[in-house]
Symmetry: C2
Subunit: 343 residues, 2 copies
C-alpha cells in the first residue's frame, strides 16, 4: 500500500494540508518545527506524491509531450540529428522538474488528443510537415513548440536552424572552389519549409557569385542512404559536367558519396559533396564529410527553455528562434580539377 499524504498527516498528528504544504515547499504557511517533523516522517516513510492525483486536482501535470510523426504501420525512426536534439531536450526538461511523454503520432488530430488526455502542460512537435503544423489546434493555453518548422501557425512557437544561411554557405564554399555545376539533392519541397529555405540560400550564393543554376541539377530524393547511393551512381555515371553536390541531410550525402564511388568516380577528386546537420557519421566516413553543422545542443536546450517559460507563464509565442549554423570543411570537398572529366 503506497504512502499517502493522509498517512503522513496521521502519523505527524497534523492535517493533510499541512503535509501538502511542507511537501510542496509552501514554507511560509507552516512553522519551522512542523516542517522538520513532517519532513522527517516523509523521508522515513518514503513518501512519493501521486502524479495523477496532483494532475487532476491542480490542473497541471508537469508532463511535456514529445510528439513525432509515425506512419500507421512502420516503426518509428528518429533521425540521428533528432536523437541528438532529443537528448538535450530531455536533460533540460528533467532539470526543471518535468517529465516527458514520448509518442508517435499518425494523424495530426492525435496531438490534441494527447494533450487533453494527459493534461500535458506543453508539447514539442518534431519532424512534422509545415502543412501538418499549420493544422495543430491544441487545447487553448497549452503551448506547443514546433522544431524545424516554417509553419505560420500562431498557436505554436518555433525553434529552428538558419537553414537559408546553411544552404548559402554550402553553395558559397563549392562555388569558391571553382565548381560551376552543383547538384541540389533533397526531398521534394514546396515554396515554404526548411528545404525550401536551404534551396533559396543555395540559389542566393549562385546569384551572388554570378553563376547560373540549372533546374536539371535538382535531384529529388528522400533522405536515406540507399536512395542516395542510387542517385549518386547516376550522377557519377551520367552527369560528368556536375562536379559537386549539396545534400540537405548528411545521411543522404554519405549515400551520394558511396554511389559516386561505385560509379567509378572519386570524391572529392571528381565530385565534391556537402551535407547538412553534422551528425557523428560525418566524420566516421571516408572521405570525412564537409557539412553544415546545426547546433543540436543549443537547439534542444533553447526549445525546452522556451517551452517551459511559456508553460510557467513567462514569455509567449512570438518570433521563432533561429539557431546559427556553421560550415565544417572536411575532406569531401576540393577544388574543381583541371583534368578532363572522363567517364
Amino acid at each position: 500500500m503506497p504512502v499517502t499524504l493522509k498517512d503522513i498527516a496521521a502519523e505527524a498528528g497534523v492535517s493533510l494540508m499541512t503535509v501538502s504544504n511542507v511537501v510542496n515547499g509552501n514554507h511560509d504557511k507552516v512553522s519551522v518545527g512542523t516542517i522538520e517533523r513532517v519532513r522527517a516522517i516523509v523521508d522515513r516513510r518514503g513518501y512519493v506524491a501521486n502524479a495523477s492525483a496532483r494532475s487532476l486536482a491542480a490542473k497541471s501535470s508537469r508532463l511535456i509531450g514529445l510528439l513525432v510523426p509515425s506512419s500507421e504501420h512502420d516503426v518509428l525512426v528518429l533521425s540521428p540529428h533528432n536523437v541528438a536534439v532529443f537528448g538535450f531536450l530531455e536533460r533540460r526538461l528533467r532539470d526543471r522538474g518535468y517529465h516527458l511523454l514520448f509518442r508517435g503520432v499518425t494523424e495530426t488530430a492525435e496531438v490534441d488528443v494527447a494533450v487533453r488526455s494527459w493534461n500535458l502542460d506543453g508539447a514539442v512537435v518534431l519532424g512534422f510537415l509545415d502543412e501538418e503544423v499549420d493544422g495543430f489546434a491544441p487545447a487553448a493555453g497549452t503551448p506547443i513548440l514546433a522544431l524545424d518548422s516554417y509553419s505560420g501557425n500562431t498557436r505554436t512557437t518555433g525553434v529552428r536552424s538558419d537553414d537559408r544561411e546553411g544552404g548559402r554557405l554550402a553553395a558559397e564554399h563549392l562555388l569558391a572552389l571553382g565548381h560551376r555545376r552543383i547538384a541540389f539533392a533533397s526531398p521534394a519541397f514546396s515554396d515554404v519549409g526548411l528545404v525550401r529555405q536551404r534551396f533559396d540560400g543555395f540559389l542566393q550564393a549562385h546569384q551572388d557569385a554570378g553563376v547560373a543554376w540549372h533546374d536539371s541539377d535538382l535531384l529529388v530524393v528522400d533522405p536515406t542512404w540507399e536512395l542516395g547511393v542510387e542517385v549518386g551512381r547516376t550522377l557519377g555515371a551520367d552527369h560528368p559536367d556536375v562536379t559537386a553536390a549539396f545534400a540537405t541531410a548528411d545521411i543522404l550525402a554519405v549515400g551520394l558519396m558511396e554511389g559516386i564511388a561505385r560509379s567509378g568516380r572519386s570524391v572529392p577528386g571528381d565530385v565534391s559533396v556537402v551535407g547538412f546537420d553534422d551528425i557523428d557519421l560525418a566524420h566516421y566516413v571516408t572521405p570525412k564529410l564537409t557539412t553544415v553543422r546545426q547546433d543540436v545542443g543549443t537547439k534542444g536546450s533553447i526549445a525546452a527553455s522556451m517551452l517551459l517559460d511559456e508553460v510557467e507563464g513567462v514569455g509567449t509565442p512570438g518570433e521563432p528562434v533561429v539557431i546559427p549554423v556553421e560550415l565544417v570543411v572536411r575532406e569531401s570537398t576540393g577544388p574543381l580539377s583541371d583534368r578532363p572529366s572522363s567517364v
Copy 2:
C-alpha cells in the same frame, strides 16, 4: 472547458456510468440504442478521457516507463543500437494502447520513484549495469523488464541477445581466416554481464580451435569512436603480431579501423576488425564492417510484448528470453596475409 463524462451524460439524458461503459467498450452493460446515441454525442463533442482521472480511479495508468541511466550533468545519449530498439518498443506499446514515459535516471532509486509517482503499469530499463539492476526493488506488482541485463534479480524479467554466441562467432570467423593473435576490445568487465559473455564466447572459440589467447591482447576501452581511434593507432603501430581485433560495439570497431589506418596499416590487409550490433553505420564506413548482428526488431518487439503480457496478468517473470545473433561478413575482415608485417 474540456468535455467530461458528466457533460455527455447530461446531453444524452443518461447517467455518467452509462457513458463510461460505452466509452470503455463494456457493451454488455448497455443497450444497443443507448450505445449509438451516446457514441454520437461523444464523437460530436470530441470527448477525450482524462488519463489522470482514470489512472487515479482505476489504479492503472496504461503508462509504461522507459528508464535509461543518465549522469547527473551530462546529456543523455542513446547508442544507435538502443535508438533502434526504442523505435520498435514504442511501436508495440502504442499498438496495444499504452503510452511511454521516457526518463533519464541518475540514481537507481529513481526507478521506484517514477513507478510510484506515475502509477506506471510497467517499466523497461535499458543500459543499466547488472549491479544496478540487482538493486531494483519496484513497488510490488509492477513488472520491470531489463534489456541486455544478466542480473539475477528475480523481480525483473530479461530480454537480451545471445552475447556468448556472438563473441564465439566473431572469434571463430577470425580464427578460420587464419588469425592467431586477436585483440579483444571492450569496456572493463567483471565476471558477469554482457561483455563477459561475449568474452567467454570469444575464448571458447579459441579453445575449440586449439589456439591459446594472451591476456595482453585485452584492450580495455570505453566504447566511443574517439577512444577507438587512440587504441587502434597504438595497436597498429606497436603490435604488429596482432592481426585482428574484435570490438564489443560497432562504434568502437569503427574507431579502431580509423586508428589502425592512421598508424599506416590497412584494414583488412594488415588487421581484420569485427564489431558487434550491426548498426547502420557498419555499412556506411570504408571498409564496410564485418559484425555480429543483433536483431533489434525482435528484441524491441518481444520486450514490449512480454512486459505487457505481464502487466495484463498473462505470463510472469521467468527465464530471460535470448534473441539469436548472426555474423555478417563484410569487408573489414580477410585472411591472414603472408606478407611480413612491417611497421
